[in-house]
């Protein structure tokens, strides 16, 4: 039988890891290095770039209140989205985890159904729901509750609604995995010791499901903070998020160096968040949700 002792074949782990390491190197590390180098270049008036080591872009991004404000707005939108996803997503996750329904797998399949439709189409569907001649306005007028359409679209709340629609399944899946793993005997024990159902939930179920809730929150926050399409489709004139600034710099102004610096700022912010989560909860919880 071949020996599994790494001391005998020290390169074997590296050989086994090499496909994954190569992919990470080529698809993540090298592109980020390119972006980092680019962020120190300068853009000329004609759109051509000047190579070199210039700190102008970084000075602008870190010193200008405009970028800080948009970053603050981005964090607010991502935070509000995450909180709503947590509150709204916990209930179906709890139901799916606790139900005795024979075909539980179908309920999980239903969670996946939205992913079969393009994210952009799902986002644009809100125009047909909340628009002036959308389902909600037509329904309200038909019921006689309003005389004319209510303006519901193109503000930060519709951006949040669009993001919740997109991210809710991520939250539900993470919480479901956490709830499903709880030993039911613990809940029964709490009940047999005199806890009410609510006390059993708050003292046993909820604390034990917190790792899943945290993993879902991390995913929702990171994905919401990096969104670009949703504010573009459902936002008003001033509802831009940080990714829209990157788009503007790179696409509209052709200022790739500035766009690179902006994207690294967002990457750093989200990277710190992931590092903090990993320090306290560990990334393993997220891996569980994806089987």
């Amino acid at each position: 039988m071949a020996s599994l002792d790494p001391q005998e074949k020290p390169l074997r782990p590296w050989a086994l890891l090499s496909p994954a390491l190569t992919a990470i190197l080529l698809l993540l590390v090298i592109p980020v290095c390119f972006i980092a180098v680019y962020s120190f270049w300068l853009r000329t008036a004609t759109g051509a770039d000047i190579a070199g080591f210039h700190l102008d872009n970084w000075a602008e991004v870190l010193g200008d209140a405009f970028y800080r404000d948009i970053l603050g707005f981005t964090i607010w939108i991502a935070f509000a989205t995450t909180v709503i996803c947590a509150l709204v997503g916990y209930i179906p996750a709890y139901f799916i985890a606790m139900t005795q329904f024979r075909h539980k797998a179908y309920l999980l399949l239903l969670l996946m159904l939205p992913f079969w439709i393009s994210y952009i189409i799902r986002t644009m569907s809100w125009i047909n729901i909340l628009g002036t001649s959308g389902v909600v306005n037509v329904g309200l007028q038909w019921l006689g509750l309003t005389d004319e359409p209510i303006q519901m679209l193109y503000n930060q709340w519709t951006v949040i609604i669009g993001l919740v629609h997109f991210l809710l399944p991520f939250m539900i899946l993470n919480v479901y995995v956490s709830l499903y793993a709880i030993d039911r005997n613990l809940i029964d024990a709490a009940r047999s010791l005199g806890s009410t159902p609510w006390q059993a939930f708050t003292e046993v179920t909820l604390p034990l499901s917190l790792p899943g809730l945290a993993a879902g929150s991390l995913l929702c926050f990171v994905l919401a903070a990096g969104t670009y399409i949703t504010p573009l489709v459902l936002g008003g004139p001033t509802d831009a998020m940080f990714a829209n600034l990157v788009f503007d710099a790179i696409i509209t102004q052709l200022n790739w160096p500035l766009g690179s610096a902006l994207s690294l700022v967002l990457l750093a912010l989200l990277g710190v968040l992931v590092a903090v989560y990993n320090r306290f909860a560990g990334m393993g919880q997220i891996a569980k949700s994806f089987g």
């Binding site: 193109y154 004139p237 001033t238």
Partner: protein, 384 residues
Amino acid sequence: MDDTKRYERLLERYRNGDLSRRTFLGLIGAAGTVAGVTGGPFAALRRHAQAATPEQVRFDGWGGVVSEAFREYAFEPYTKKTGIDVVDGTFGGADEYLARVKASQPGEFNIAHLSGVFDYVRYHNLELSTELNEDNIPNLKNVITALTDVFRNVTDGTLSAVPYDYGTTSLAYNRKYISDEEIKEKGAKILIDPAYEGKIGGWGEWKTRIWYGALQTDQDPNGIEDMDAVWDAIRTHRDLALKYWGSGAELMSLLAEEEIYVTEGWSGRIKALQDEGHDLGYYDPPGGLGWQECLFVLKGSPMAACEELLNFMLEPEVAIAVAEGQNYPPALDPTKVELSEKVKKLPAFDPTGTLSGLNFFDPPYWNSNEAEWSKTFGRVQKGY
């Protein structure tokens, strides 16, 4: 790159005795090796990247009814006639497209339906222009001279594009809520009228916003003296607007669904909505914005195939059919070519062939301010 001609030249030099047999075979062998090493694997990738080969030309346009017209009236007949495929791509705006071109390899993109002289200058400054062989485009003689002259001024008398159509970006309004008299009275200032707060739209593009900001502050858009006043007008518009639209499709949707009552809009798209039965008015305010579009050939393209396509697209039958399809008048001179009655009724159509009644971006003025104004607009647009 025309490999066939290069091999033929080698063969000719060998036959003339300029090359030894050993050198000739060596060069052919080296060329074969290069083609084998780079051609095989990369040809497969290139196919996926939709790059052009001499048997195919990549064309990128604005999508929607414009691209439909190109496909139906130009590309399909062209492919039937010549056997050259046209790979048809779309973009949402010239800025987005330029970023894609900048990130691509020469030859990956070939012909683009670009907007106006402004883009022509920009692409030329980025060394993306070519030099068309006008002998291969005999139909160019039918094009309005004023349209080609502005391009020649940029590229030292040569052309990297052929003008193709023109139109206006003027005021589109819903007649149910805004009368023809009111729009004439208020002109461009209706876009900053608080009476229509939440029902105003606008293109989220810096040049158009600044042009209309200039009109709203009674200034010449090609010679703005008080830029602060223009930014203030843009801010006022932003605060009153429901949404900046980003594409022709979004413009049409916002007007058709009555999400907005008034915006500036592209003449062809508004005509398409009117033809669908929407009760929309379209008004050119004093100083309203005109533009021309061109078919720009990018550096690295198969020139002969591109020139053949351009000549085909300028055939009067094709250009008129495309014009009727996309609702923009063709660049053909009405004094040289008999245009259809439908074309003559299109918005912005100029029967004199001089386009003297339209106002265009002055390229040197706008290009010199591009970096500063586009950046500032990015901030103003987002609430600053």
